[in-house]
């Protein structure tokens, strides 16, 4: 077993770190946070710098981790224009890939994934948005809630109900819905606690006509496609958590040092640092282990959910402790932003409770841990 990463990844890590240090200035981070502005210019720069290399998922993971260690909100904003792309990549027709993936992969378009509804996000099979086949198109009615890139994306992978099966998750299908389709409306949501550089919106679908060929894969398989997607994307959420934990820890150490040698040499302060750092390393090992299964085409959903849940919890733990050990210094500026940003990690793409249910149910089925 070798825990050292290939040199090419260390080089990539350095490249991303240098990019973030240069481009993610405190001024931009603060402006986007207070003004709830999407950093379009940064998105373009990140794309041009080739930070999201889809030919190598390890590089994507490292990119997300490193960018989020400088600022989670900006890091997520510039790495989610591709959100939902894996659904198209794995299950979309060549036509859909060409029409909707190519522009995203060439930096010309932004996409999103629309699953959650006002009535619920954890219970994916309980969604109410309906798609009815009428001749050569589907007609979609319903609404989606908290959709990242909701008011800036060109198109979405969207989950809707196409039939009323006894088992609710059997009647769902995925579609590509363009934001310019008639009857589609996005209302930007303002006033998030954190990740305020990311765009979030409520989507309304009022008799939206979607061409039949925009159905992704087979009808009735939507739930399965979305779960497959989550088993990939949760690794990247775990990477967001690693970045936040690391960033908060390192920042609080430097703030604590500035509070004087006599402060940072106190054992109680040092123990907090040790605890944060140890949890971070544990979260990183778990995330990289889950990633190595996935990236070798042998996904392990139990490990993936463990990584997502634990890395998110570690991020929240580290930001809270960072604020606690730095007292009045921590509740203003960069560290308080880290804390506000971190909490979303325990909610999006499966709450911590949902992850724990997945872990336990899989383990019960499999007869325990191996």
């Amino acid at each position: 077993m070798d825990f050292a990463m290939d040199e090419k990844y260390e080089e990539h890590r350095k490249k991303v770190r240098d990019f973030a240090k240069k481009e993610f200035t405190e001024k931009i981070a603060e402006d986007c946070d207070t003004g709830e502005k999407y950093p379009e210019e940064l998105r373009r720069k990140a794309f041009e710098a080739g930070l999201m290399d889809f030919t190598d998922p390890w590089k994507i993971l490292i990119t997300i981790e490193e960018l989020c260690s400088v600022d989670e909100s900006l890091g997520v904003a510039v790495t989610t224009p591709y959100f939902g792309a894996e659904v198209l990549m794995l299950f979309g027709s060549d036509y859909l890939k060409e029409k909707y993936l190519t522009p995203v992969n060439t930096g010309k378009a932004i996409m999103g994934l629309a699953v959650t509804e006002p009535g619920g996000g954890s219970d994916v099979a309980g969604i109410k948005t309906r798609a009815t086949l009428e001749g050569d198109h589907y007609v979609l009615n319903g609404s989606k809630m908290f959709i990242t890139n909701g008011s800036i994306a060109n198109h979405f992978v969207l989950l809707a109900r196409t039939s009323d099966e006894e088992k609710k998750h059997h009647g769902l299908s995925c579609f590509v819905v363009e934001s310019t389709f008639e009857g589609f409306k996005a209302n930007k949501l303002k006033g998030k606690m954190g990740v305020r550089a990311t765009d979030t919106a409520e989507l309304q679908l009022n008799n939206v006509k979607v061409p039949k060929e925009n159905l992704i894969g087979e009808p009735g398989k939507g739930f399965y496609y979305i779960m497959t997607f989550f088993n990939i994307s949760r690794i990247y959420v775990a990477a967001q958590g690693l970045g936040v934990a690391k960033g908060a820890l390192n920042l609080s150490m430097s703030v604590a040092k500035n509070m004087g040698e006599s402060y940072v040499s106190q054992e109680s302060v040092q123990f907090e640092i040790s605890e944060m750092a140890t949890r971070f390393e544990a979260a990183r090992l778990l995330t990289y282990k889950a990633a190595s299964f996935l990236f070798n085409f042998n996904p392990n959903p139990t490990l993936t959910s463990m990584a997502k849940f634990y890395a998110a919890e570690t991020a929240v733990f580290c930001t809270e402790r960072s604020v606690e050990i730095t007292g009045m210094n921590g509740v203003f500026g960069q560290l308080e932003r880290f804390l506000r940003d971190a909490k979303i990690l325990e909610i999006w793409e499966g709450t911590s409770e949902v992850e724990k249910l997945i872990i336990a149910r899989n383990l019960i089925k499999e007869g325990g841990v191996s």
Partner: protein, 335 residues
């Protein structure tokens, strides 16, 4: 609870229902407006525990704690403003021995900009020029062992982003200041005294915040459904909420008991309440799922306020040192 304390609690509740209920998020976003603050003053809450001979309302300590607790149930910022006025600024002005300054201060109930070095670790001034209540008329600064009060003449400073209690503003303020109107030496003793004396107040505030967080989470878990059942049906929701409600009740019974407390208990209740508030408000946010992350729902604010209160005002290791010293009745926990 004694009858007069109960009466104060009811009058605070009545005031809050009339003046603050429904405006909690707006106060957090836009600040405590002068109109509201003047009504808080008119009702005597702003000068709650300041003795009548100094122009205050002269409430006893138990009543004061209950006022802070009630205020915090609706607005952590309002509770914090009252706390700052009564528990930090008033003692500071009184210590100067200037009767005229005290009169002016209490009658205007205006606030003081405070040099952050008063509170930072070892008085090292690590927060640099960070001052609180930037639109106040006087400034208290710490130089060596002397606290000096000046008239503030400089422009109101730029407000900085802050985690919690956003209804009261914090900002950077640069000298030079105007006329010196009072001073006293021996700041070290004064400040460590403040740290201990304010433990109960902080506990009262964060328990108020926690109480609202729990009430919101319990209500939400009755009406929100997932997988065909109300959230309250799920053990990971119902069990921790029930446990925390029990803990809150036990903590409240202790903090508001009005009984004699040891020094260790006095300082300890702050630390225990802060941990409780941090975890309880976080649980309430989590129970609300995505909605908990949106300001309009007024839940994330409770988490931010609870965490911010933990930094009021010294790092935790300072408070723990006081606790350890109380335990050993001797200097302890210095390494």
């Amino acid at each position: 609870m004694r009858e007069e304390v109960q009466l104060i609690k009811e009058s605070a509740r009545e005031f809050l229902l009339k003046e603050v209920a429904g405006r909690e998020v707006s106060i957090d976003r836009n600040g405590l407006d002068p109109g509201l603050l003047s009504r808080v003053r008119d009702q005597g809450f702003m000068t709650a525990v300041i003795p009548q001979e100094d122009g205050g309302s002269g409430l006893d300590r138990d009543s004061y704690l209950v006022v802070l607790n009630e205020m915090a149930k609706y607005s952590g910022s309002l509770a914090a403003a009252i706390f700052m006025f009564n528990s930090i600024e008033y003692p500071l002005i009184r210590e100067t021995g200037s009767k005229s300054l005290l009169n002016e201060f209490v009658s205007s109930a205006g606030q003081i900009a405070l040099d952050c070095r008063l509170f930072s670790y070892g008085g090292s001034g690590s927060a640099g020029d960070l001052y609180m209540f930037p639109d106040s008329r006087v400034v208290a600064t710490l130089q060596n062992d002397v606290i000096r009060i000046y008239r503030k003449e400089s422009e109101n400073p730029e407000v900085v982003s802050q985690l919690g209690f956003r209804g009261i503003r914090f900002g950077h303020l640069h000298g030079p200041f105007g006329e010196e109107v009072g001073s006293f030496s021996g700041s070290g003793k004064f400040i460590s005294g403040l740290m201990e004396r304010t433990s109960e107040e902080i506990a009262s505030i964060v328990l108020g915040i926690s109480s609202t967080a729990l009430a919101k989470a319990v209500e939400y878990s009755k009406v929100r459904y997932a997988f065909g059942s109300p959230l309250k049906a799920f053990q990971p929701i119902a069990f921790p909420l029930a446990m925390r409600m029990a803990q809150l009740s036990i903590l409240e019974n202790f903090v508001f008991s009005g009984s004699e407390k040891s020094r260790l208990e006095l300082i300890g209740e702050r630390e225990i309440s802060l941990d409780f508030a941090r975890d309880t408000t976080k649980l309430a946010l989590q129970t609300h799922g995505g909605y908990g992350y949106i300001e309009d729902f007024g839940v994330e604010m409770l988490y931010r306020d609870a965490l911010f209160a933990g930094s009021f005002f010294w790092p935790r290791s300072e408070h723990m040192r006081s606790m350890a010293t109380a335990l050993y009745e001797d200097e302890a926990g210095s390494i």
